[in-house]
Amino acid sequence: MLEVQDLKVSYGRLEAVKGISFTINQGECIGLIGPNGAGKTTTLNAIAGVLKRSGGSIAFEGEKLPNQAPEATVRRGISLVPEGRRVFQGLTVEQNLRLGASIRSDKEIDSDIEAMKKRFPALEKYATTRAGSLSGGEQQMIALARALMARPRLLLLDEPSLGLAPLIVDQVFELVDQLRSEGITILLVEQNGLRTLELADRSYVLQGGRIAMSATGAEDFAEVEKAYFGAEDSNAVAKETAND
Amino acid sequence: MSYLRHRVLALETPILLSLILLLVTFVAPSAGLSIENRAIVMLINVALVVGLYSFAGLSGVLTFGHMSFMGIGAYAGALVTIPVVAKGSLLPDLPGFLANAEVSLPIAILIGGGLAALFAAIISLPIARLPGLALSLAMFAVLIICYQVEANWDSLTRGRQALLGVPTNTTIWVALATAIGAMFVVFAYQQSRFGLRLRAAREDEYSAAATGVNIVRERRISLVISGALIGVVGVVYAQYLGVFTPNDFYLDLTFMTIAMLVIGGTRSLTGAVIGPMLVAVLTYTLQQGETVTGPGLQQVGLAIVMVLVLVFRPSGLTNGKELKLSTVVTRFRQGRADRNGRSSETDKAMTAVE
């Protein structure tokens, strides 16, 4: 469904993603894990069109994606839930959901909103409240529901569990699992390596802008940890950054 | 290379720039009085834009109010140099100490620069605390306030009427000395630890703060230095004009100086010197066209050039580089060897700011 080929992304002279390739099949949930600065968020942003890629190609559903604006990528069926949730704080919960359907003009928007409220009871309760006044967990639900309102076929999730209470984190992972069973393909970026390995069909460990290894389940965790810290040899990483 | 040697070698930039200005000063008078006058204005503009650069360039905050210091310098310098007899009829209501003052140009420069510096120090108390964009706009408010005061304080400034009788002491050599003096002062400041701290804060406010740079304090210092310099230029400019009104230090001048700095490049002393020179040539050319279009073409052309620079080369022609002889020579040799990669050579002719 999504084919990333030799993707490269640079911030000025600094190359953050140095040629990574991976494929996601229809209905899969793929994890991207790795330490801070490994290039996970950069990869997601490049797929979503927030960042321009400096090299490589991305194909979605068999068609090449040009280096396009985020508003065009959503229209292709790819939605990003960015890090830090970024709900529209000054708008009501319902307005946030409705904005999620910005690319749609069909008659089912209202019924979709009702469906979201059923799925996330908190959204029903606070429908007319300013989104900014809700808790972090509730805001994460708004952000997810808002992304789903676009009816994406590929959902990009950036650190959905960041800064949430353990109980809420469980809910988030459960929800991701549900969404996959509903047929939405998911690319999940996470710091929480073990949980991601357990959930995802396949995970890639990023390290210094490259894919260091791929893993399929929790049994690979020890090896993944080694890829995180063993090879880290912070001097080598620092040197590599300096050389770029 | 030792640190000290490195610093001394860096002097190359202001020395080279001074030589260019010296050349202009030698050549211009032979081309007639009108060209000589243009050269004087250009040298004064160099000093002015270098003064503006010492705040706007080093702190990274372009201000719209620095010409207020020029007005203060001009009026202060004029009031202490206009002959006592003339003052009696021009400004009969002057307070006694001013009415009887008549000093030489150097003293007037001290007074004008000092007063502008004092004013800068006072306004820096609130202004330096503001975040970048608000600082730009607050300085704009300061400019408007100064203009209003100058235009309405009749007993001191003759209000909107021209202040005349100012002795015209500014020769091309005085203008040259001002420009070169300003350049060396700002260069010394730029290389000093104060200048370094300010530049560090410009590049990355948070990292600089984390290493102990007090950005508000550094901006205050910079405001006072730039205020003093621009105040001095105000004195010198007034002694060139002989007659002036508050309008001479208001929006047109603000626009012109910002355009010069932006075109030359806000991030290097070389840019602050080259900008006014380029603009002088440009406005001279456009002025010839004004005989056809009527007044305004100069400003229109300058504004277009400025927008083009902002779109296509936002860091100005110098792109943050300083002029260095060693690299000019290299460029010359490379230019012979390879005449194609011209744009990269222009960059090489300037080396990055240390």
């Binding site: 927030v50 604006a69 985020p70 508003e71 959503v74 229209r75 939605s79 990003l80 960015p82 970024r86 529209f88 704080q89 000054g90 708008l91 307005q95 409705r98 904005l99 910005s102 690319i103 808002r146 676009a150 | 372009l62 719209f64 108390l125 609130p126 202004i127 605390r129 503001l130 970048g132 964009l133 608000a134 730009s136 706009l137 607050a138 704009f140 408010a141 300061v142 408007i144 306030i145 209003q148 005061v149 235009a151 309405n152 626009f255 910002i258 932006v262 009527g294 007044p295 305004g296 073409l297 100069q298 400003q299 229109v300 504004a303 277009i304 400025m306 927008v307 902002l310 779109v311 936002p314």
Partner: protein
């Protein structure tokens, strides 16, 4: 007593005009981080539009001037600001400064430096005596126009789908694009609204002064800056509050300043604003706009 009521009436009409000037500046800053110096030149363009079309009937002239200024605003965004859209806020500000100067001097070349007088219906220049309080027809007009424009804008921003998209974009531009809101459409619409508001303000100014001239945009844009800065950059409510306060203190200084200090009234007004900023550097109602 009548003095006080008179002052209140004056302040109300002044604050209404200031609100019309400040809103578009705050609106554009909120969406794209641009403090638009050239907003004043939009006012100037609309005023010259009124001058050019004044030969036909007034309603048609107003309509044509509005069309002209909206087109000018859209063109300004397209030609000058889109190429630098992703630059720093300061680059944007300097660019708008250059655009403002360009348009001012272009007008100088085209129309000359003498003001062009524009005749407006005499009914607009009369004044009513209500129990010792003088109310100008133009003051009533200003208040009515401001209420209609602000009310319309508030309705649009709160009720319409596009208006809500604009609020979303003002809060977090990248996120708005991620849900599919088109950046170009939102920015163009913002400039169109800014142009229309400039047109309305120009109408008021022309009725007040009876003329159009090249530098007429300067004072309005300065007032707009000061009001938005005092209210809090990027916050619409802040801009309205700033405009109101500016109107009140301007009238206030008119009342308390002595005869010889009154010409320098603006110096006192802006001095007072600097004092406000000393206490609250981010303005009275700081916006929660995300800095990108």
């Amino acid at each position: 007593m009548t003095d006080v009521i008179q002052a209140v009436v004056d302040a109300l009409s002044l604050a209404s005009l200031y609100a019309l000037l400040a809103l578009p500046v705050a609106l554009i800053y909120g969406i794209m981080g641009l403090i638009n110096f050239a907003q004043g030149e939009l006012t100037m363009i609309a005023a010259y539009g009124l001058f050019l079309f004044a030969a036909v009937t007034l309603p048609l002239a107003v309509f044509m001037a509005l069309v002209l200024v909206v087109v000018a605003a859209l063109a300004m965004e397209r030609v000058a600001f889109r190429p630098v859209r992703n630059s720093s806020e300061e680059t944007l500000l300097v660019t708008s400064f250059a655009v403002s100067f360009l348009l001012q001097n272009l007008a100088l070349i085209i129309f000359g430096s003498r003001p062009k007088s524009i005749s407006t219906p005499s009914s607009l220049s009369q004044s009513f005596d209500v129990g010792g309080i003088f109310i100008d027809a133009v003051a009533i007009l200003t208040v009515v126009l401001a209420v209609v424009c602000i009310g319309g804008l508030v309705l649009f921003m709160n009720r319409s789908r596009f208006g809500i998209s604009m609020r979303a974009a003002a809060e977090d531009f990248t996120m708005a694009r991620l849900v599919g809101i088109r950046a170009n459409a939102v920015i163009s619409a913002t400039f169109a609204i800014a142009g229309a508001l400039a047109g309305v303000a120009a109408f008021v100014l022309v009725v007040q002064s009876g003329s159009a001239f090249a530098t007429m945009g300067l004072t309005p844009v300065i007032i707009a800056f000061v009001a938005t800065m005092m209210g809090g950059l990027g916050s619409l409510r802040g801009a309205l509050l700033g405009a109101a306060i500016l109107g009140v203190i301007t009238v206030g200084f008119d009342q308390i300043l002595s005869e010889e200090l009154r010409p320098a009234r603006d110096a006192f007004v802006y001095g007072a604003v600097l004092l406000v900023l000393l206490v609250r550097p981010s303005g009275l109602i700081p916006s929660n706009r995300e800095r990108v």
